[in-house]
Symmetry: D2
Subunit: 208 residues, 4 copies
């Protein structure tokens, strides 16, 4: 039984530029290697995504619906964001808004659509703000129906002030970040498997 | 197999005074009736709890260790908080700090102590701030090892400005709050059962 | 001496749709009538604004530079935002990111560009989240150089759960919101005048 | 005309232990030397401060009233806090709650009591969370009537993960933190002087 992992990289930079956030994403996904897991990473800055609280296209150019199809199919959803002024990127907020726009949809059992899906967060910045970004994203995912396993927030930040980002600072050698990346990957995997085999019972949570 | 639920009511008022937060807690716990669940509610303002990032007594009066014994035994932990200036009460922050102080302990398998425990949050205020309180508490619990099922944040707030609180405003008749209370109770129950029967595998998350 | 007020309305809806946020903005700006104040309100959803931490155009379509010219000229800047999932709109975050992108520029005295400008925030939502949005925006403006007078956060939200927004709910009759709108308008005005007449001395705050 | 500065050090540790937060406080206050400024630093952990949203004593032991007398007399109030789990200390939240408890009092002109007082924040942690603490405290002070000059949030944090705190890490050599400490000190001083000489006009902000 193959598990699907979808990672929305919310860097403000298009794929033509190097993403520190992507570099940390890869520290996490390396633990999926050798398991029956299909991982897809989308760089949202490469897409045209409209503004609005809906899962449907907001205009003719809006590419959210094709992303949303992948969200519906995935078992694990990870939001990856850089930090700006101590908060998540605007593109991460766009993603959350669009996910929220689909949150009142239900699955075939009448539970919210995101039930039995597992969520996590990855954050990089040259300094301060990672826990605030994690806090915002973990809560949003939980509030709209995702399950949050323990320790699924992996981050790296440097010392206060301007300074090198993850790649240049060799953040991948930070023992704390490495340990979190590993635990996050495994706990997402364990819970996705658990919910595949034992979906959330419908008692008490079916939406009329 | 009896499940244990521990609820830390973080109102600033001692038991001699009426707690709106407690009133909403009871809207949630009513759904545990008739199930094999033991519920205990502690009014933290009735205890002397010292300051510090440790699970051990910080001075001779410190009653946290007796509360911590109950935390270690529980399957489900709910933090219930009022809102002041749009944020959780100071007593809720004390509880989080003390829980954090025990977060590097491990279970008999070498995972963090709070693994296989399930967390949730209940918030009341006369106005605005419930999601910020939920965000803070959900993230803190998740970061230290609790599992967060979907939709385990129940809250009630009134319209902007000074106004009646939950009891006086008959917040228990709010359809949104009622539905959340029910879903929260059931999802905590489902996940606590799930993790009793299928504890989180140790692969990848044992702390050396 | 005419004061300039620039209001960035960060609703996700274009001008073809009714904005509750705009309705509350007008409750604030009504107090500017009869004073020597020029008020301009921009609906950011009507503009093409690129992603990036810079004040300069990020691509050929990017209209931020023309907005930034207005920011440079204004004495008072107000960010107005709706609430989604308890947080500011993605467009508000875009605005903050772009403002941040210009924050290392300096004025003719060598102080940060936004010195002697005064900031405030207006927030509407059908429920919960106003203080979190205010907290985020007030801090961001303060951190990049704006002066924050007392009580410059005006908001309206309704009771917990789905429900009518500001216009439909007649939020303009809420006494708390009305009082805040008035105090905010006057305190922005007082401080903008104060700083016109007595700019912040350069001692200690010139950037080399 | 002597200016008064009151600094509430919200470390969880009593004075018998070394406070990293205090060490950063002193980096800021050094800039007050040689000016006509009286600085007082209170270690709140040394006091018995009760819980409640009131400026009055909540029980016979409650020492907040004596602290509140100093708040009423000060021109500049700085809240200094460590970071735990990415947020301010519980003692900082206690201080904010008690300040909030006095926020509906008015001065002799009928404005809120904290008008013409200037606020700022100092934050230390071994890692991540400084901007979240600043955001929370800056907003709280602003919302209850303090004036927030630009750039009055000074912080130091280290790289992600456990690691040395401010003193051990020689955070006082961090150029970013040093510059912020200096600008903060001067801008607090400039605005306190400005408001001494030109108090906020009463038009529009008198509370009936």
């Amino acid at each position: 039984m193959t598990l699907k992992v979808l990672i929305l990289n919310c860097t403000l930079k298009k794929s033509s530029k190097k993403s520190n956030t992507l570099a940390l994403v890869k520290e996490v996904t390396t633990y999926f290697n050798g398991k029956d897991i299909e991982t897809e990473i989308l760089r949202l800055a490469d897409f045209k995504i409209g503004y609005g609280i809906t899962h449907e296209a907001v205009d003719a150019d809006d590419q959210w619906p094709e992303i949303f199809e992948k969200v519906k199919e995935t078992d694990i959803l990870i939001i990856a964001s850089p930090i700006w002024l101590g908060e998540q990127s605007s593109i991460a907020t766009v993603a959350i808004e669009r996910l929220y726009g689909g949150s009142s949809l239900t699955n075939e059992k009448g539970q919210y659509l995101y039930y039995n899906k597992v969520g996590g967060v990855i954050v990089t910045g040259n300094e301060d703000g990672a826990k605030q970004v994690s806090r915002s994203i973990i809560y949003a995912l939980s509030h709209i129906g995702f399950t949050i396993p323990p320790n699924v927030d992996t981050y790296w930040v440097g010392e206060a002030g301007p300074g090198p980002s993850f790649i240049e600072a060799k953040g991948n050698q930070n023992e704390f970040t490495k340990q979190h990346a590993k635990i996050m990957a495994y706990n997402l995997y364990h819970f996705a498997n658990l919910l595949k085999e034992h979906p959330i019972p419908v008692e008490g949570n079916v939406i009329k």
